[in-house]
Symmetry: D2
Subunit: 343 residues, 4 copies
């Protein structure tokens, strides 16, 4: 049985990666591709690396979407709630790669984004689409808010340690570096080759919108409310996130405890592995895997966690497909790359 798929926002990097994964998926078939300024163009002119280049992009309007089984929304922040509600009302399942439904309460949303949510009653209805933490809820819903790339690389390592009470829920530092594709495909002076190549920088210091998302998701694992400081950095590469986390270990926590809690959490997970040397992003680029190493500084009592993912796969399109597989009752790994590319 082939399931029909629509993708809105298909001209961006996450959209292109969704097309690539869905085209290679054994049970999915693209029936509609929507775009904003690229509507009316052929796929080959927008994503020359993809096959089926003669396909023409439609608009990002839900009314134009045919009666598909599931729609992926890869739209800018704030643009997906309307289309999502319209598609759901027609019985179309929705996986939203944007941030519109990632927070759980109107208050948290207001604090994070500075505006009221247009559908405040809806926030509680959406499932946070991290399969390794919320598999059963995802399997039973028709609406998934797919996690952000930075939060994925933070929640996967931290949640099991918080759940096991091995680290404190406050005093946590999350320091991430990302390739440029995480900033999207929009044309900006700060993303020109001459501005990015051979340089590193922090950005949105103390104001990144991913911090509330991280805390909300980690609160689900932690007995006490989680408080963390998050700094994203841009480094000159296309793909990949490397997140280094510093969490105060509770008295008596050993390195074996930390490794054990992570191994227990992910032993049966196809896409998450605990590795015994600190991972490099090139080991996961192109794949849906997350690699995690854990270290303990006994002198200061600090657990150091390092996580590598591909921001466009496990951090975006791959994770969305993984959730869609669950929603449709398919093998969770269907169509998802285990092997990346290197170099």
């Amino acid at each position: 049985m082939t399931l029909s798929i629509a993708i809105l926002g298909s001209s961006g990097y996450a959209g292109g990666e969704l097309i690539r994964l869905v085209d290679g998926h054994p049970d999915f078939e693209i029936e509609y591709l929507g775009a904003h300024s690229s509507a009316g163009r052929t796929l080959s002119s927008v994503h020359p690396h993809l096959g089926g280049g003669e396909r023409v992009l439609g608009v990002n309007e839900p009314g134009e979407v045919p009666d598909v089984d599931l729609a992926f929304l890869a739209l800018p922040h704030g643009a997906s709630s309307g289309p999502a509600m319209a598609l759901l009302s027609r019985g179309i399942r929705v996986v939203d790669l944007g941030s519109d439904f990632r927070l759980d309460t109107p208050d948290r949303y207001l604090e994070a984004y500075g505006v009221d949510h247009p559908y405040p009653d809806e926030l509680g209805n959406w499932v946070y689409g991290l399969p390794e933490r919320h598999r059963s809820e995802i399997s039973g819903t028709d609406r998934v808010a797919s996690p952000g790339c930075y939060p994925t690389s933070t929640i996967l390592p931290l949640a099991p340690l918080l759940a096991a009470g091995l680290v404190r829920s406050t005093g946590i530092i999350v320091d991430s570096m990302s390739g440029v594709s995480g900033a999207g495909r929009g044309v900006q002076a700060g993303l020109q080759f001459g501005a990015v190549d051979e340089s590193a920088k922090a950005y949105k210091v103390l104001e990144h919108r991913h911090q509330p998302e991280m805390e909300r998701a980690l609160d689900l694992a932690s007995a006490d409310p989680v408080q963390l400081v998050f700094t994203p950095h841009l480094v000159p590469m296309q793909r990949g996130i490397l997140t280094t986390i510093y969490a105060p270990a509770r008295e008596g926590t050993s390195l074996d405890d930390l490794v054990g809690a992570l191994e227990d959490a992910y032993r049966d997970e196809p896409f998450v592995s605990i590795v015994d040397r600190s991972p490099e992003t090139r080991w996961v680029v192109g794949s849906n895997r997350a690699l995690i190493s854990v270290h303990l500084d006994e002198r200061t009592g600090t657990a150091v966690l390092i996580c590598a993912i591909d921001n466009l796969v496990k951090g975006a399109a791959g994770q969305a497909v993984q959730a869609a597989n669950l929603m449709m009752g398919l093998d969770e790994t269907a169509g998802l790359p285990m092997e990346g590319w290197m170099p």
Copy 2:
């Protein structure tokens, strides 16, 4: 029916790409992986981006290779002729990604490499494995010499024009630039990040061993002997070859003639496309496709051809798998990526 595969030289870049493609191939299964200095190590320590990391690499000795259906050899120049002959004598088909059997006569080999070929009588028995030019011979043989990356990007655009008599066979300039993976994975001062990043250079000027291979293969298409000047360049990227060719057009040749000859040659080819703007290597990275554009400078009577491939896929592992598919009577496209990745 699953066919069993051995790969010798599996620790290099081409070897890793072969593993990736064979692992994803519907009809092939790896039964043996050989390596030189990495023998005894696990796959995950050699190619951390690949799955099945617990597989252990064996040695590059043909005597250790089990009775597989086909062996890919990705060995250094000069190292494959011995193992190839040993495997063939046991009835194992061989696709050699190296250059040992790419030239057709002992004289040409001696001229190109400065030494006598160890199996001079064998040279005429091997098929040059460019499926778009030699499909039927590949289908009927058990021994294929897979083309080099630079020659692939040169022969595909030039051969149809020479065959149609639209360009002269002398006075041809081939100017190529390659990503660094083309130089292999060996550790060299000239391949350190500090020596490659942010720099471009020509190398082996007028002495590159790929020129005789190009001329030999083009002679098969041309009425007159082909003579060309080839300059390879190294540019700071991992994958991809862009080759720009300048060939004197014969009197009366029009741009339509050039486009027509190429379209005729490749209309039904799954992996070669004629495009109407000059191609970029990022359009093909990760895929087995070759993209070609053609231009005519009427003022000087010069045909300009531009070809983009991924040196590790269509220029190495993908092309070898394509030939193996033909040798085994499979769908020629089985297991081969049409879609690359970008960015």
Copy 3:
């Protein structure tokens, strides 16, 4: 004696490099910086790498420029002729880094740019600012058209060989690759990191406006009119041009003849060196040097010339300062970097 300098177009890459060189020049002092959309901003916000960041940029209007000794114009094509004439009429010397005055006749200009020149009578009055070829004319003029980056890397190697009659004036191929800064600092989709990094491409195939400039300048050296085919390529690096030239050698020309002609031409030149291995762009980045190697393919009778420069220094700002030094009667090397940086 300190000479006062104005720079119009100071917010771009060439403008920034001019500021850097003039700030470090023993005899020059910046008195005015003009800009277009960045007018009114501080230098530190436009070029954070430069000192004196509190300087405020003015407009690109000649009427606002004080009575300086010399003005550098680093303006977009077509924008410099008006300001140049206005400044000259006030007795201010002008070095134009743009292409408005690089061609010598209205006809050649019309053919190259498709429009009539606004000051056709002026074209013959400007000196082409390549000191190694036109030193005395530069010393005696108040108006210099500074060469483009690609032409500089082409004329320096070719002109002496044409002048000595060692290579033919037709059938010449010029194949160049450039870092991204050559395309300027304007924000474009094609210059985003995601579009440039890890990719190579040709652009403006057979339509690049630098070809007529090359032919015009080479005609001055050659007994017969020069005809060449030029293809520029973009490679993923910031600075540097590597040009590979193929020129048919005249009967009887030896490699010694070629080396000798180049050595004779540049023996006393501080910024041009003939090197015995093909040069890499990283050897010249940051410096005003040009490195040239020459090779002869005796089989086909083809001279191969390779030239490396920094497109922003010898290809733009450095060359302009070199000309200005001559115009002002200073030591030609004053303020010009002999040493680049690496890595």
Copy 4:
């Protein structure tokens, strides 16, 4: 008055940068260049970007060094103490860019490096060469241990806040990313272009030898012993360090307090600036400047400090020259670049 200079270890990246700076220094002149495996080669073959390429490198033996005024040692760890003592005994001033004399006690050295120091009594005699913190000691000594690149980027932002009692001395996290030149010029598999490009990684997690150096230097500023966790990362660029520091603010500390303490410390410093947006490494590459931004997360009481330097200039060769200027009684800024290059 020209002072004569020797450089041992001149073939590496720091050595090359020292040559570049000393060649451009108004009062210094190189009299001897030593190298290890490159001894006997010309400078142009080792550092093709430098002028005076006909200079021949000698050996790294102090006995071969003529009677110069000052010697810079850019030798591997453990290799400089012997030559340093030999040169000092001849009355030659020494600036050691290595780590042999950066720690103050034999115990601290033993703990950091696992071996006894060969000259334990000497450790207390050397001055830690960070001019902004130890100017007067540097001016009065003949032996300076020049700080490491990571420590420089950590001590400059942190020391004034610790000295002012605005942040706690424990619970500090130092998270750094460095360009590849920081790892030196030695040929290693992990530094090949294919291993570094398009990837990010942490390395030497919890075992980096720079942490004791940081703590030792910060102890000099702090009332209480400093304890920090340091993680270095490698990102795909040549030069530049970006360090992000998280320090618990003491009760009642405001952002104004933090900014004020830093402004007070560096107001008159030519090479250190407090900036009001988080700095990018490309703003300082090629210059001797350090840029610092400071932020306060009031919710968690965390001060966030970001510092950008060029690891080869302010983090190595530039800082060494700055100290040498002080030792010789020269203008501290002589020969040191304020302006870097971009792009």
